[in-house]
Point group: D3
Chain length 226, copies 6
């Protein structure tokens, strides 16, 4: 198998995987790693609670170990495609390959695009959990606010309603909270990135794209020069 | 059964449970909740890696749910007795009862005893993990430093060696890092609290005691006045 | 005299003392320390300005020294029951017994109940003073906002008006500032804790209860095992 | 009386007052406010504990009110010349005139002279107290370290010993803690400012000079144009 | 020439220079340094973009070197009178004399007048740039918010419109963001300081006055006593 | 011309450009953008002072505008390859293309590889300047320490001496400051990345590689799918 970067959706909703998979198309280039998007069958339909987060941690570790065993050096790196970065540090212990989380990479990438970051959560209940992540990252001073769409992961398929909410939340982050860059706080919103950026006039980071970018660099730089 | 506060050691080393159990003796008062210390049989001998942390999360959730089912209202609250606070936020979702972690309560209690907190880890590899916790808590400015004993959980039973290391690390936290209060960064060091405080001349927080204290308050205040 | 924890209201309004005294009832348990609530006669009717704070510092020190002299070892610890923590660090120098402030303990306890803390002040003019305290504690990143009731200490007796204001301010902290836990920023609001928690659907910390809890732990743990 | 800025030494050691008085000589200019240095007779010989701090707060308030009454508009402003800024916020309530503290102004001025501030305390026991002040000011990220001379206020008169300690502590702040500016953490070290700056090759802030500078600006700007 | 403090407006709008020059009148005292206000002819009409900032950096360095050459020791210090502090650290390398920026000094002075600082920008696009400055200063926890007038530098001459906007923004900073002190975020608003303070009932810092004050202190203290 | 990412060395030392150019070899893949490394002829031999930083800002802006004019859409993005990120925000205003700085990207990438970042500066005098950058980025809590090699840019060619210093500084960052990831704080050290990582047993980030990685992602994602 050629050198592959595995992007794993920890929830079991194939539509989410499909959404970010399509969004990664432009990162698939000749000479770059293959980018393979997987759905974690054991996962819940959406990672919405802390229990959801914990329920996928060991399955993610097992999946990564299987992929490592199955593909050896061809398994070149991993991206965990859920904005709660479930199991990120455990998976890092389980494999010597690069492992990136989309929450960390989404925020870090936004830090190069604006000074005040607005985060768009799907649900209100995720916000304290993300707040702990941002605190652990030490980047809280850069977060203007995080506001929820109040849509579940599986409701993101309703495009009309999702756009309406995205536009509303994006404008409030821009106008009330002075955000000058937005981060989509869920792996399932890749379809809306360019539309939302045009709609609110701010750069918008799709975090799976951000993480795959950083993982590609790690994969390429780690390779033996040829 | 009378109203009981369950203190769960997520590792499987009974000696650790015994150590903090003894250290909780003075908190057992006639009118207070019963304090029952349990060992999580599924746990590893010590929680030393992030994988160890993740490996006990769902078992902790299950154990708490079982205790809730078995004891009903008599199960009054839970303390997770490991300095990495494994599964803390997941267990909070799994039960309506108070759930406290010893890492958070150890640090919060130290904040009432000094301005610069020195933390004594057992192993160097735990320090970045604790750093993420302190960041998530937003208390990093209060941490003078965390230094390791370089002793595994099960080695804490060797009292002479443990004392020697504790005294050395405690003095370095005091003298080089200007700590004015120390926190024992592991549930298995309760025996050494008073000795170390005398040895280095600083207050020393045993975090299981700190967490049980805060949990007792929650349990007592939640009870219907009688 | 049996081992006693003294909770001192630094203002001279007996109704405030009575309010938190009643709120501490559930913490009075067989085997625990006696909890005695005192009113500092020299204090002003309410601690509303920095001058009020300073005016009670030395009287608090004197009162604690008198209690220490009068009761010896039976005076087991002290809680200063004013949300400005007047004289906290001076009293700590004046006695070897545990001394806790309700502002610090209220905030620290809230940190175990939510990620974003909303504080309810009685008056707008207290907010910068509390801001300095939170800064000194190093917990500013955890404070969502502090909003005032605009009621003086002595006006808290008007229950209907106080409830109306509490509900309004609590909702704004929850909805506008995304607080997920509230702290009552005055010792005189104990009566309203459970009502407000039900009203806004968030945990509410009554800070005198929080401080007495932490002080009880210190008192019990300091006692010689028997 | 001509417009006067009162600089009050809250301790009763006239030698300290004399030291900073001499250091203010260059700030006495035609057209500027008179700068009068006073010693608070009620103060302790040095402000070394929190109790010392609290013991001078109300005397400072009374002294400022007397000066206001006695001199009316001619009493143009006040500087509290002790590095613990005792009573700063209370005195601000007691008079409408500008009131500056030497700790705050010393640090703020140092922030224009370097990126990492080293503070030289006289005694180790002051360091946690100063840490609370720096936290309340929100400037902790700019403090490289604070180290003590381990000399009491009254020992500062022994010039040879003081110089030896200053040079040693200054060098450690520069070399171990990467300070690029130093602040003298006591009003009694004005004599040593220029010597120490030359000795360690870093700018050194004498905090009474810093506070009088900022107070002069406030006094001059508040005056009616003539 | 007598000892002179040069205050340099990096933009080429003489009306801005005239405005802050008038506002410095009260700081001109017989024994103090002469205060000379200059306009940088090479500057753009207003410093509104980062490119504007960079376009004046080397011209400022050159101007300061010329003044140093021309006036020798009589050139006693420099203030850069633009709220983006253009070239501040470069000019500091170019001359051994004191160099102060109005942004840093405006904020530092506000820190002695209130706990939560509201900043009034002229344009929205300056706010992220100022945010980087406040971050570099390490004072972000003290900034309540920065809001724009949405007026260009040259529009500040329209007094009626400027007052209307200042009052509106000042009230929002006070009421929505709980600012208790305001800073004028542009050198061209000196005329409005006292009016705005009266209008909103908060202290207002004019940053050029703040910087000249701190520079005067540096100049006077550096001089040989005579 | 094919789509090209320009990596501009703002100093005039071709050996530095050559060093990072070689280090980027693995990022040159068939389907990715061409990566062209340029030397800014107008730059000084090394960017060692703030004046050096400012001296290259406008030349960088001009160079980027020329490249934009000359190559149109084929000029796909820019990396400024100096660890002081000179002109970063000005260049961002000058072109609509992605512009990344190696300091920001080096630190952001390190944040995915460890919790405590050790930075290796070439010269002590750069450290305060970098401190301002890290403050502006809001990531100061993640920086364990920055220590200098005390080698100028042009001295980096002496491999034996550079290795000796790198190993010494790397070990001190790891052992004294508890860094668990290192960042090379200069564009001229690419040759040493893998050697140093092996030598100290920590991941080492070469910042130009980090920035080119993030820029590649931006370039690829911005392109029309083909």
């Amino acid at each position: 198998m050629e050198r592959t970067l595995f992007v794993i959706n920890p929830n079991s909703t194939q539509a989410v995987t499909d959404a970010f998979d399509a969004g990664l198309q432009r990162l698939r280039v000749a000479g770059g790693p293959r980018i393979a998007c997987l759905t974690l069958r054991e996962g819940p339909p959406g990672i919405q609670t802390q229990l959801d987060v914990e329920s996928v941690t060991l399955p993610l570790v097992r999946r990564v170990r299987e992929l490592d065993r199955e593909h050896g050096a061809a398994a070149a790196g991993y991206v965990i495609a859920c904005f709660s970065d479930p199991g990120l540090h455990a998976v890092r212990e389980a494999t010597p390959k690069p492992v990136l989380g989309i929450s960390e990479c989404g925020i870090l990438t936004a830090m190069t695009l604006g000074q005040r970051i607005g985060v768009i959560a799907i649900l209100r209940q995720s916000i304290p959990r993300h707040g702990r992540l941002f605190g652990a990252m030490g980047v809280q001073d850069r977060i203007a606010a995080e506001l929820p769409l109040e849509l579940g992961v599986v409701e993101l398929g309703d495009a009309a309603r999702t756009r309406e909410r995205l536009a509303d939340v994006g404008r409030r982050l821009r106008d009330t909270h002075q955000a000058d860059v937005l981060v989509l706080g869920c792996a399932g919103m890749a379809d809306y990135r360019e539309w939302l950026a045009a709609e609110v006039g701010l750069p918008v980071v799709e975090p799976t794209q951000a993480a795959v970018t950083m993982a590609m660099g790690r994969v390429l730089l780690a390779a033996p020069a040829s």
